[in-house]
Subunit: 430 residues, 2 copies
Amino acid sequence: MPAAIKIAIAGLGTVGVGAVKVLQSHADVIAKRSGRAVEIVAVSSREQNKDRGVNISAFQWYSDPVEMARTSDADVFVELIGGSEGAAKDAVMAALESAKHVVTANKALIAHHGFELARLAESKGVSLNYEAAVAGGIPIIKTIREGMAANSLSHVYGILNGTCNYILTTMRESGRAFNDVLSDAQKLGYAEADPSFDIDGIDAAHKLAILASVSFGTVVDFSAVHVEGISHISAIDIQFATELGYKIKLLGIASRDNGTIEQRVHPCMVSVKSPIATVEGVFNAVVCDGDFIDTIMQEGRGAGEGPTASAVVADIVDIARGISVPTFALPVDDLESIPTRPISDRVGAYYVRLMLVDKPGVFADVAAALRDNDVSIESLLQRVRDPGEPVPVVITTHDTAEANMVSAINQIAALEKVTETPCMIRIEDF
Amino acid sequence: MPAAIKIAIAGLGTVGVGAVKVLQSHADVIAKRSGRAVEIVAVSSREQNKDRGVNISAFQWYSDPVEMARTSDADVFVELIGGSEGAAKDAVMAALESAKHVVTANKALIAHHGFELARLAESKGVSLNYEAAVAGGIPIIKTIREGMAANSLSHVYGILNGTCNYILTTMRESGRAFNDVLSDAQKLGYAEADPSFDIDGIDAAHKLAILASVSFGTVVDFSAVHVEGISHISAIDIQFATELGYKIKLLGIASRDNGTIEQRVHPCMVSVKSPIATVEGVFNAVVCDGDFIDTIMQEGRGAGEGPTASAVVADIVDIARGISVPTFALPVDDLESIPTRPISDRVGAYYVRLMLVDKPGVFADVAAALRDNDVSIESLLQRVRDPGEPVPVVITTHDTAEANMVSAINQIAALEKVTETPCMIRIEDF
């Protein structure tokens, strides 16, 4: 058996500790699978003496991850610090500069700087693996980079944020309001104290930008992702969705068509019969459409100590086995920068909920705004409320250009008898 | 760029022609992804001059695949002949003997001879890849061998035969009888003229034996798989399943526990709410449970020209990229031969449908047989039919040892007033 491969781990939070546990508890079988022992030699974290439930006394301690990246004798630098800038980025750059392989779970880093890091890794002849950055335990990066290598992919989409999916699932099952469910999710540890990265869609957008790059062979471009969160979804929208045969899911959707790509993250209505609608709670799922493979869906846990650590260690085993694949499936010089289709170019169906003062003639104004913008109504639902209270009116449309829909909604929102900002949710035909 | 990697393809049926199409239509991007051109140099098939919709005139022609395996200058031998013995096996052996990498879609070959072929490949330092042998386009072998390398797996199960899933789905949707739906499936090309390999569960059992080996690190052992098919499932069982909140699926199920493994293929009732129940028609799905990753499900097309060819070409790209992984995830000397748990050791719930003569006292005899064998009834359904006709009676049980259940059913089947062989279907709690 060749010499052990040496690992340095920066960041001993949940995932870092999980990776240590996996490597310690499965050391024998991992050595057999890798063809060599996998040995942690160094670690770095903010606090050295903290009870983490794992014994790290045998590893060399570094208080500075950049120093560890530069000077430790590790073959593989594992970055689990997080954040797109600062220590995480500096340490990954330093590790690559000193020709160490890098394994990271850092979606923000790859979404913002993946292209330049890939170029650096390629120039140094080392791997940059980031399976844990997207959809936790689901091996979706390996599936796309390797398993679908024979295909030209047209679509990749999925449920990429477990916190949002948990909140939306619980709202539907319990009938409770968004803020109420969010605060429970925070108590349960499913949402952060500052939940904005999750509920505003940023986390899902980081993952989508990475998926789009590896799926379509394009330069990763987070700034081109259209992002909306879920905090405007109300209990009543979820009720209407159920009544219409839909579930509301926060999806990341990317497609490549005619030399352009689109990347968008926003709440969607999907048919209760579509496979993606069956993915509930904290689970994630990713669907890929390829020209030969047709459609593949993968579902699993998108976060948590075990699944994320499993992905980190799989990346390490790949390196130990000598497996080397271009960071985004193609050599960096072959990655394309192609135009983005803006969200205003979307054509599809829409759900719009209005709150109207219950007075004669009010719907005539709404109908006129839709007609003026060439929006054709597919169905109309109206709920009776207490007299004097605003009445919810729900419209679903036939296929409509987004620009027309937005113009109609702006016109409607300006009507005196419309009491709240209309809620618009795109209906996706998966 | 290094020199092109040279490919020889034996067998130009649906999948072989598909592989040629993929390699020709995506030659440029496959070369970029592989880091070298992938070039078909030789082909072999029964008939040289046949219109297959692809141009094979540039490739060297061999009438004998074994001769091609031995003497062509290919680096990779692609076996798409099929069958566990004869030309397929001889050619694969010859290719490995002459230190050529092998890619195959042949589940029967790997299920019967995988271990000895893996040993030969390992001794020659070449790869034996068989992604297309299991679940068609779903990259499940890669997922288990590489993506789940950090885990100890406890369960692997799934819908492994699209023909059976299509038949069972169509029976449920249409209410039609098995033979009727089978004959339509044959007309549509979803079932072979001789459908026994599919409907008797053999094809699924081949795939399950392979999955068990790669999941649990055991010597592949097809003979240890308990196999039942679907031809005894009647329209009335499907109706009852729906009424009870179940769907009937032909599942392959393998688990490892306390140093034993079980491998079984048979029709199951699964809750309509379980993820596997949502997999319909010709689609396949595989679920893996690992100690760190928790549960992963992958769903996609398990057969057909495009998906299967996609898997074959992904295996070729892996070899071109220099990716080499032990055939069954571990070096052959580390694969274990461990005892099989027989099906008689299963403990779980059961569905039993009896056809009874509608006379006083008949159910007392049935109840006595259940009591005598320690089988506890969970629910009981009886349908009214025309007077004088046998009455279907359905029993579901609490958890019961299979040996007891079988003994009770044998006792019941021997009763004079039982007019047909009872139909027993295991209920799985996924």
